[in-house]
């Protein structure tokens, strides 16, 4: 019985290390997002049809960057201009524009809160609401902001090649690091 108790105690202390931490291996990307209402965003993502929710691997990109943010997160607020710069930098580069796409997911943010964040910081890339933390739970309950880099994988659909907690600080350096980490030649 003492063995049983020891096992329970060990399990207790192992659980946080296997569920809550930012471990890209534990991220479940099998979730869908609603097709944006904004036609420009539909075109940006390369989605073919409107109406039905879409999966991440339907986004036409060689690299997909996901920012997990919250309207309530002081760093996300402070860094919104830098993330906008990142988007503008990608859009201004002809060899990256159609290959690298950026989306944001508002963890625990309602549609109203996401829209307000978008308007307040004049964000041009698509943002999605995750009101009940459903996506947030799937990706390991990361803190905000958190950046995930994805690329297509012939067998797995999408492969996570980059995962970063906290602010990007320097958009140019972040983009270079991300492209380098992808191993892709763009």
């Amino acid at each position: 019985m003492k063995k049983c108790l020891a096992l329970l105690v060990m399990t207790a202390f192992l659980i946080p290390w296997t569920t809550g931490l930012c471990d890209s291996g534990k991220m479940d990307l099998n979730f869908s997002l609603p097709v944006p209402e904004d036609a420009a965003h539909v075109r940006y993502l390369g989605l073919e049809q409107r109406g039905e929710p879409f999966a991440l691997n339907q986004i036409q990109a060689k690299i997909l960057i996901i920012e997990i943010f919250s309207m309530y997160c002081p760093i996300c607020q402070r860094e919104a201009a830098d993330v906008n710069s990142l988007f503008e930098m990608i859009q201004a580069n002809p060899s990256l524009k159609d290959q690298v796409k950026l989306i944001g997911i508002g963890a625990g943010n309602s549609a109203f809160e996401v829209d307000f964040f978008k308007e307040n910081y004049q964000i041009q890339f698509p943002l999605f609401s995750d009101t009940n933390f459903e996506i947030h739970k799937r990706i390991g309950e990361v803190g905000t902001p958190h950046f995930i880099g994805l690329k297509p994988h012939k067998n797995k659909g999408l492969e996570i090649f980059y995962s970063q907690s906290g602010e990007i600080k320097d958009p140019k350096a972040f983009l270079e690091t991300l492209i380098q980490a992808s191993g892709l030649k763009l």
Binding site: M1, A12, I15, Y72, E113, G143, E167
Partner: protein, 197 residues
Amino acid sequence: MKKDIFVGMFILFLALPAVSMAASAAYGEKIYDPGLLAPVDSKLAIGLGQKAPDFTLPAVSGKSITLSQFRGKKNVLISFIPAAWTPVCSDQWPGYNIAKPLFESHDTLLLGVSVDNIPTLFAWTREMGDLWFEVLSDFWPHGQTASTYGVLRSNGTAERALILVDKQGIIRFIHVSDINVRPDLGMIMDALKKISQ
């Protein structure tokens, strides 16, 4: 033997991750997570259409703020939060901080109220950046204002409660949230719209 299993299960329960929250990296490792709490643990002592009980409380800014000083001038949204340095509370006011134009468009100011003392609130709110609204301490007599409004919990913290008082000093909106959940900004704006009409 059963006692051993009970102890083991209890430790297992303590180690389980708490309710999902996208904690901001802004606070580093400074946030204390109390885990999942009883959603509500008090009985409201106010009602819609009633005159809001007046109070005077010290603010982090050094001012002394009285609710009735805004009568005839501004609507007031009182935001009670349970405790400083906890996950949901630390995420709530920074959101209101960027929503200043929304509050202003409805001629409303915000008063944040916590039962924490001024030094604690000073240190905590500094992590949020420059807040545009007054943060009041209901520390001593402990939780007196929260108690008057019926939002003081049995452990001495406050509920996560929003009370909207119009320019005549009348309570027009009350929302006592599940303490574990941050209330939606959209719901607050709907309430502000109603009293602006």
